[in-house]
Amino acid sequence: MIDKRVASAAEAVSDIFDGATIMIGGFGEAGSPVELIHALIDQGATNLTTISNNTGSGQVGLAALLKAGRVSKVVCSFPRTANSTVFPELYRSGRTKLELVPQGTLAERIRAGGAGVPAFYTPSAVGTPLAEGKECREFGGRKYLLEHGIRADFSLIKGRVADTHGNILYNKTARNFGPLMAMAAKVTIVQVAEVVEPGQLDPESIVTPGIFVDRVVAIANPAHESELVEAGASYP
């Protein structure tokens, strides 16, 4: 019997090790796996590399993980947020390194990593500072950059509902990087509001097939980052 449920966020992240590379889903607050990130803060792993679109806001979720000093490098497309001072301070003081990647290149690199494609060419960023040091090659008279697939040790993702096989549905624009990161990690951990039995999800509508998912954690009423920030919350 395949059953990918684990009892708690704490159990789900228990084997994340110092120095691990972790993909963290979300675009802004949509799809940010706040409870998994908080469990990771409690767990204590450090010297992490995170791969994510943003760097969080306020003093909760991803911003709190950064603030706790656990992240030595951030791979990110837009590490600037209206309500955050955490990453800017870490970056300016040199405590956290940044690899800046255009958003579409970041998405495609994660997909490539998950799809067994070691490298691909893209027109994005040709002729810009982000092309520096990258191989440039012409196809059909146009210039493209070589970009490499990326993989991670763990992915932390937020879905809406899962079945016990790990098939995942998402909520609206919270889908964003989730299905890609699920493909690209050795261990993919998904928090969902609801877990159902196999057969209860429409097989035509499944977004992330269970083969990409290792652990499912039910978090019935996940927090929204913006609401926590508005309430002045900080973690821990």
């Binding site: 837009f78 990647v101 998405a107 040709v126 889908r175």
Partner: protein, 224 residues
Amino acid sequence: MTKPPVIGRTREEMAQRLALDIPDGSYVNLGIGIPELVAKFVPAGRSLIYHTENGMLGMGPAPSPGEGDPELINAGKQRVTALPGTAYFHHADSFAMIRGGHLDLCVLGALQVAQNGDLANWSTGEPDAIPAVGGAMDLVAGVKSIFVITQHCTREGEAKLVQKCTFPLTGCAVVNRIYTDLAVIEVTPNGFRLVELSPGIDFNFVQERTAAPLLRTPERIEAG
């Protein structure tokens, strides 16, 4: 004779002018800021479908304050609504649309536009600024037409339309048209070409505020 207090188009008027040039049925991505205003001014009888790079086609206007879903947001991370016919998808599919040339138009702001269509809009290059690029480099590389909407000059009065960008580039030779408070300008193989002056603005006034030659050759000659 005293100078009038307002010269040229307001932000809303710029957006309204740009909206006139978007054909019915276009798939459109609107950047953050002035570009977002364009959606308000689409002429009656035209339907556009809005794409937001965080994974949605069919985006509708913002919900009433306090309404909406924190997980239904646009690329500026503001809450939006979904119109009938909406589809959600993941980031790789979203940027496949962008990179693959499936979007008809992207409207973006600019720090500088060069006469060859180079765009700088993501970084002022200041050493202590936190670099952040988002999807801009993908959008300019992939979308069929790139329209820039911007004030003609900076608050300090410096030209934004230049011979060569001094700020870090977003993309090379990517801009097709520029809609400013003073004029509508096209980027041609020969440089900037004036398409239209804003009401009450004359050519010399625009040329003086443009740091590159402004052609007034009619389009029919350009086409030859």
